[in-house]
């Protein structure tokens, strides 16, 4: 009769144990897959949309920022070029219109200079004529420059070569910044003269300074060597060094973004002024204008992050809910299925056992009565030398019949299918009955089973069949855990009033700490290949069902102790 017990270990089911994280890798994997795929589906569009919006808004803001700078730089470039071109044209007109001799005439040059200043509203500081040998022929202006030779000077060589020259800004004796415009007039194959005017930078600055009115912007001229040619609100006065790198040459207006000397972002619009070494620079600090963008960007980031967190939370909750539900349904279905299978099996065994018992009990009864009659007859007969021997043989037959009878009774007592019901149970008798089924296995495998029961233990009110299942599972597991010749100790006690405890300790292989956490979980098994991992799960469920609790303690390599604590008064009492 050990077979049903052994099968129960692997097929019957019970209540699933309490939730303790995810029971198996399968559900963990399912959770990961569901959560991850939902995350991808839900978050990817949000993130893509957020990134696209971010770049779109950024582009729009940058366009708003860069366009006016580009426009202003372009306008100022034209204005400056026009200003210089006017002065250059005036000088060209004079040098082409007047003869060398006329211009050499000091009085005539003074008249021309006066007319020039009147026509152009000031700005011209002096005017001088230089011959092709570099000699100053005539001069009108604040300095004593007559007779000076310029032939070894760079500007003279340049104007001789190119026909026109606009100098960088410099401070003369009066410490006033100005620059020089010189034009050449050729009178023969190798003869020419040069008209040279010094121009005050004030009128030039007027065209630039109004652009620096806003605190976030600055506009100025620099030379190609990076020297300020007009005062800058940020970088200092004329002839100071421009601290940033000179922007690269370009024929058209350019707007670039770069970091200033302190690492702050700035937008720099610039234009190379034609036929001069001037570069017009318009600087705008983007913080003020970009403030709105930065605030919008923060809002976008916060909105996206909060949305993503919300979505993640919902996905986590949803996936967890779904997988838990699925797992609960799986466990429930498996439990119902196995329970049904177990019930059917037990019912079949019960019918078979009842039939066998009845068929055997009748012939046993005949043997019993025949033997009894034989004994009666012997006792009634005259004294015979073999009477005692006869009686002894008959007693032996009757005892054997009793043994057979107890076997059939026990078989029926266990296998008979009865409806679950609460009754008063002597646990020690029930345990002995359970052990009776495993007795043969213990004998064959030389397993020592010690049974320790105190005398004064109360009977408990419980369900006999469920208790049989519980102890069959636990004791059968102990049998499976020990080697041949091992030891199992069953100790009963009353740890507290109203509770009866049964501990089943084996000196078997023990359970690792990691496995110990999972042993009551459904489908968890260490019996590779032949365990369904439901035995202890069922036991756990049954113990809970009848109001008890189960505890386990194990040391790997030393053994395992299962303690089952049962209430004296039944759960439904």
């Amino acid at each position: 009769m050990a077979q049903p017990a052994a099968q129960q270990q692997t097929t019957a089911t019970g209540q699933p144990p309490a939730e303790e994280g995810y029971a198996s890798d399968r559900y963990r994997r399912l959770f990961k897959t569901v959560a991850l795929s939902t995350c991808i589906v839900a978050l990817a569009p949000l993130i893509v949309l957020a990134v696209l919006n971010y770049h779109q808004y950024k582009r729009a803001y940058r366009a708003d920022l860069i366009h006016p700078i580009s426009l202003l730089t372009s306008n100022t470039k034209r204005s400056l070029e026009f200003f210089l071109s006017q002065r250059r044209s005036a000088l060209n007109m004079i040098i082409n219109d007047k003869s060398f001799d006329e211009l050499c005439d000091q009085v005539r040059l003074e008249e021309i200079f006066t007319n020039l200043k009147m026509s152009f509203g000031g700005g011209f500081v002096d005017l001088g004529l230089i011959d092709d040998a570099g000699n100053q022929c005539s001069y009108v202006g604040p300095y004593e420059l007559e007779g000076i030779n310029y032939s070894d000077q760079q500007w003279f060589r340049e104007v001789s070569l190119r026909g026109v020259y606009v100098s960088n800004v410099f401070k003369g004796f009066r410490k006033v910044p100005h620059f020089v415009i010189a034009v050449k007039h050729e009178t023969g194959p190798r003869s020419y003269h040069i008209l040279r005017a010094t121009v005050d930078t004030e009128m030039l600055n007027d065209r630039i300074l109004h652009l620096s009115e806003r605190p976030s912007s600055d506009a100025f001229l620099i030379s190609r060597k990076g020297v300020l040619q007009s005062p800058s609100r940020i970088y200092g006065d004329v002839l100071d060094r421009f601290p940033l790198e000179v922007p690269p040459y370009s024929v058209k207006v350019e707007v670039i973004e770069q970091l200033d000397e302190r690492g702050r972002p700035l937008i720099l619009g610039y234009a190379y002024i034609e036929s001069t070494s001037f570069i017009f620079v318009l600087i705008n600090r983007p913080e003020a204008i970009m403030g709105n963008w930065l605030s919008l960007r923060s809002e976008m980031i916060i909105f996206t992050a909060v949305s993503a967190l919300l979505i993640l939370a919902v996905i986590f909750w949803g996936s967890n809910y779904m997988v838990s539900g699925l797992r609960a349904a799986d466990v429930k279905r498996a439990a119902v299925f196995h329970n049904m299978e177990y019930t059917n099996k037990m019912a079949t065994i019960g019918r078979l056992a009842a039939g066998v018992a009845h068929e055997i009990n009748n012939p046993l009864a005949i043997i019993n009565e025949k033997a009894g009659l034989l004994k009666d007859l012997v006792l009634m007969s005259e004294e015979h030398p073999l009477n005692d021997k006869f009686c002894s043989i008959v007693d032996s037959i009757i005892k054997s019949v009793e043994r057979c009878s107890s076997i059939t009774h026990r078989l029926l007592g266990f296998a008979r299918q009865r409806e679950a019901r609460t009754e008063m149970i002597n646990l020690d008798l029930l345990l002995k009955e359970v052990l009776g089924f495993l007795g043969k296995s213990a004998l064959h495998r030389d397993i020592e089973v010690n049974f320790d029961v105190p005398d004064d233990l109360p009977a408990i009110e419980s369900d006999r069949r469920q208790l049989q299942q519980i102890f069959l599972n636990i004791i059968n597991n102990a049998f499976a855990a020990v080697d041949d010749g091992g030891r199992i100790e069953i100790i009963m006690n009353e740890p507290e009033p109203g509770i009866v405890g049964v501990s089943v300790a084996d000196n078997g292989t023990g359970i690792s700490k990691e496995n110990l956490k999972h042993i009551f979980e459904p489908f968890f098994t260490t019996k590779k290949g032949y365990g369904t991992g439901l035995g202890l799960s069922i036991t756990y469920g049954l113990v809970n069902k009848i109001g008890g609790r189960i505890e386990v303690d194990s040391v790997e390599g030393e053994g395992t102790t299962f303690a089952i604590l049962l209430p004296v008064v039944g759960k439904n009492a």
Partner: protein
């Protein structure tokens, strides 16, 4: 000879014969039949104090015989024999009016003790 009159009813003829003989050895007037129908017939004819009745028999089974007996002779006490090793069938018999039950195989002394108790009722 005891004045007790006992009818044994069991489909196992050999069992009936042996038990009858053993009871008679012990001074009890015992008769045996192997079918429920015969039992009812015999009870109508004879004057039995106690009927020892097997639960499971071909034809009329123990419970049906009890039903008939209680109808004909309510004063006769019935002791049931069951081979099922469980009390459930016997419980049904007790509810139907049987005095007590014994599970096969029975001890002769125990049987006689119960027969006497039943007869004393």
């Amino acid at each position: 000879m005891d004045s007790l009159r006992v009818l044994l009813v069991d489909d196992e003829e050999e069992l009936v014969e042996t038990l009858v003989e053993r009871l008679q050895i012990r001074g009890i007037h015992a008769e045996g039949v192997t079918r429920g129908v015969d039992a009812i017939q015999r009870i109508r004819e004879g004057d039995f104090d106690v009927v020892v009745l097997d639960m499971k028999m071909p034809g009329l089974d123990g419970l049906e015989v009890i039903g008939q007996l209680k109808h004909d002779r309510a004063d006769i006490q019935v002791i049931l024999l069951t081979g099922h090793g469980s009390s459930e069938d016997a419980d049904r018999g007790i509810k139907a009016g049987a005095f007590d039950y014994l599970i096969k195989p029975v001890d002769i002394d125990e049987l006689i003790e119960i027969i006497r108790k039943a007869a004393d009722r």
